[in-house]
């Protein structure tokens, strides 16, 4: 796929790995914040190729992991209502509540539909005026604007049967909560590029400054992540704590 395959170039990856090995002199703990980064690191075996001194800790940036149990239970209760079409991204359906998950509620007769975008939920509301269509709005800064667009559009169309169960959360407070923990071991962060596409990266500067942690914004492909790790290690080795974005991306 154009503009993805280029970021999987084995020669570039080997070169970056060699550089990481060359600059690492001490053990360092780096957290990749986003679940998408974790997925790519594991899928591509990057965690196993790094020098033993580099420990990657998987971060909280996954809506499935951070949505509170209380909200999952609310989702299950709403989804079981007779006059409701409950809509959600597919990955929320297996998340366990206190007693059930959305798949079980669906098997018991709940009208639960998987959608790809909140605009799909809006289409269901438009086409089913006698039903209440509820969208389970999960995710970080990347999905919140999309939910907002669906609300704006529902208002513009005068739809009165479109509802949200909101579970949106922000990345910076989660980063600070981790750093404030007495048990924290994280010394540097790899921040997620798609979040910064929405928010910019200035929001991370006060965190880098206050907690003295390097924060490197990366994409999701192997060379993005390797370069991000290299930049984080260079900062750690030099005693620096700045926000950077990986330069091999754009």
């Amino acid at each position: 796929m154009k503009y993805l395959d280029e970021f999987r170039n084995p020669a570039v990856a080997r070169s970056l790995l060699a550089e990481i090995k060359a600059v690492t002199t001490r053990p360092w703990v780096i957290m990749e914040i986003c679940g998408g980064q974790t997925h790519s690191l594991i899928k591509n075996g990057i965690d196993q190729l790094l020098p033993k001194e580099i420990e990657l800790v998987h971060g909280p940036g996954c809506p499935v992991c951070v949505t509170p149990l209380e909200l999952i239970d609310k989702a299950l209760a709403i989804a079981a209502l007779k006059d409701v079409i409950f809509t959600s991204f597919g990955d929320m359906l297996r998340v366990p509540g206190s007693k059930k998950d959305l798949f079980l509620v669906k098997s018991e007769g709940g009208d639960i539909r998987i959608v790809y975008s909140p605009l799909d939920a809006l289409t269901l509301a438009r086409n089913n005026p006698t039903k209440k269509v509820v969208f389970f709005a999960v995710g970080f800064e990347t999905t919140t604007p999309n939910t907002a667009m669906a609300v704006w559009q529902a208002s513009r169309e005068g739809l009165t049967n479109f509802f949200l169960l909101v579970a949106h959360v922000l990345v910076p407070p989660a980063m600070m909560a981790l750093l404030d923990s007495p048990e924290n071991r994280v010394q540097a962060y790899l921040a997620a590029g798609h979040v910064c596409t929405v928010t910019g990266w200035r929001q991370y500067e006060p965190i880098a400054e206050k907690y003295k942690v390097p924060i490197v914004v990366t994409g999701f492909e192997p060379t993005d992540l390797l370069e991000g790790i290299l930049m984080a290690v260079r900062q750690l080795e030099n005693g620096e704590a700045r926000v950077e974005t990986n330069t091999l991306a754009w």
Partner: protein, 83 residues
Amino acid sequence: MSGYPGRVTEIFDQNGLRMGRIDYSGTVNSACLEYVPEAEVGSFVIVHAGFALSVLDEEEAKKTFELWDELLAQAESESRDKD
């Protein structure tokens, strides 16, 4: 799909929203283009959860790949020096 690049092949109106058909090297889907008013047919956009988040700057991309070529040439030259 999260943060994937695809090419806009068609722009259309859907209930007053600016939408695009997006081709991800053969897989075609639609995405909302309201947040990227600068996107045109032929643009590469980064799409996340049904919305285009940004338009990819192809000139910047070209520069990035040129930088890679330089890095690789440098790495090869250093490797030869060691041999």
